[in-house]
């Protein structure tokens, strides 16, 4: 359905100009990326959209040891990028194939996904375990943590320019599990884990769970339980239990808190089994 309150759409020719236009109307304007979210969840009182097409922030490139994904790249662009596939050992494409339908992935952008950061977002936990950061403009260009962009479509707003993923570390493995009623549906709970493997021992462990039903966040105690350990069945069970205790599981229309805790346990163990190169999860 039409977004009736929108009265004008402005095309900017530079990042600075887009920022200035947004600053002039902080309450009545929004940046327009793919636009999926703006159509579905039109924010009240917003009458001006500032279209970010044409600012040249849509490609995928390497910048030294970093993989840099332009904010306006669609999820399909990212999924099909050989640079992304190679740099993340196929992890990010595997995750994105589980996000919505191809029809939506052809429109929705990676920048929109990190700014909106819906509780059920599959993109956020995947980027968290890759240590992704964001190139942003808020009067000047700088790089910020992923979490700093959540909900920043409103004041104090950020213009996200790119997602920056470090790839210097060798031997990093990552895995993702999504629980939903159908592949198309949003996550009842999702889970991502990564670790740098050194002689069979986990280093730099990352564990993130989303859809609790809050947006994904990293779980430091679960990560601590993984660092310095080999991926045995008992370690996987210990890490999963730490994660279960650490998440803020709550009831909503999709699932009960108890069910979500069960999903978190299974999800973490499946991810860790995948990191260990095992197809099946360890014994329950």
């Amino acid at each position: 359905m039409a977004v009736h309150q929108v009265e004008s759409i402005v095309r900017s020719t530079s990042i600075e100009e887009a920022w200035e236009q947004r600053r002039r109307e902080p309450h009545a304007s929004r940046f327009l990326a793919g636009g999926v979210d703006l159509v579905l969840y039109a924010p009240p009182g917003v009458s001006t959209l500032i279209d970010l097409s044409g600012l040249g922030i849509d490609g995928v490139r390497r910048d030294g040891d970093d993989l840099v994904i332009g904010a306006m790249a669609t999820l399909t662009d990212v999924l099909e990028s050989s640079l992304v596939g190679k740099a993340t050992d196929g992890f990010l494409p595997r995750v994105l194939r589980q996000v919505a339908s191809p029809l939506q992935r052809n429109v929705a952008t990676i920048g929109g996904a990190v700014v909106r950061a819906h509780p059920w977002s599959d993109v956020v936990p995947a980027l968290l375990v890759l240590d992704a950061r964001l190139d942003v403009f808020d009067g000047e260009e700088r790089t910020v943590d992923l979490a700093d962009a959540r909900g920043r479509s409103e004041e104090p707003f950020l213009l996200v320019l790119a997602v920056r993923i470090p790839t210097a570390q060798r031997g990093v493995r990552a895995a993702f599990e999504k629980f939903s009623r159908t592949g198309f549906d949003v996550a009842t709970l999702n889970c991502a884990c990564s670790a740098r493997m050194e002689c069979g021992v986990c280093r730099d462990a990352r564990v993130a769970i989303g859809g609790t039903p809050s947006v994904a966040r990293r779980l430091p105690r679960a990560e601590e339980a993984l660092v310095g350990k080999s991926l045995t069945a008992s370690v996987m069970a210990t890490v999963a239990q730490a994660a279960v205790l650490e998440i803020d599981a709550r009831d909503d229309r999709r699932a009960t808190a108890a069910y979500r805790r069960r999903l978190a346990d299974v999800g973490v163990r499946r991810c860790l089994a995948a990191l260990a190169g095992k197809k099946e999860p360890g014994p329950e």
Binding site: V3, I9, L40, R97, V107, F184
Partner: protein, 154 residues
Amino acid sequence: MIRVTVNGQERSWNARPGDTLLDALRREGFVGVKKGCGTGDCGACTILLNGRAVNACLVLAVKAEGGAVVTIEGIAQGGRLHPVQEAFLEAGAVQCGYCTPGMVLSAVSLLSHNPDPSEAEIREAISGNLCRCTGYVKQIAAIERAAARMRESR
């Protein structure tokens, strides 16, 4: 004013800023673009925008400025149905027909990027197009048939 190419013809629309492509296309007479859920769930409004299948209900019309749109009305050539349309008819993949334009365009998009898809890839490609009549077996068979025929004719 939005300038856009629809089914190969240049057009200028007086679309409102908040109009979706679905609103604009149907107002311009392209009623093969079906209005279903309006929330990107059913896929009845699927069109090709710059060669990619999208939900017309989730794309603002202004995003098509300078671009190329293809609707179900535009894929037959010289009075001859597109191979995907022919295969849908032959395989009995058309039931009530409401999902068919979207399903066909998702298949056209898939085959333009991947001429020899696996069944899993076909299933993924039409995962955003819901059929509430019978299911998906005949549609998948039709897309496999169209893919084989299009490969043979190359």
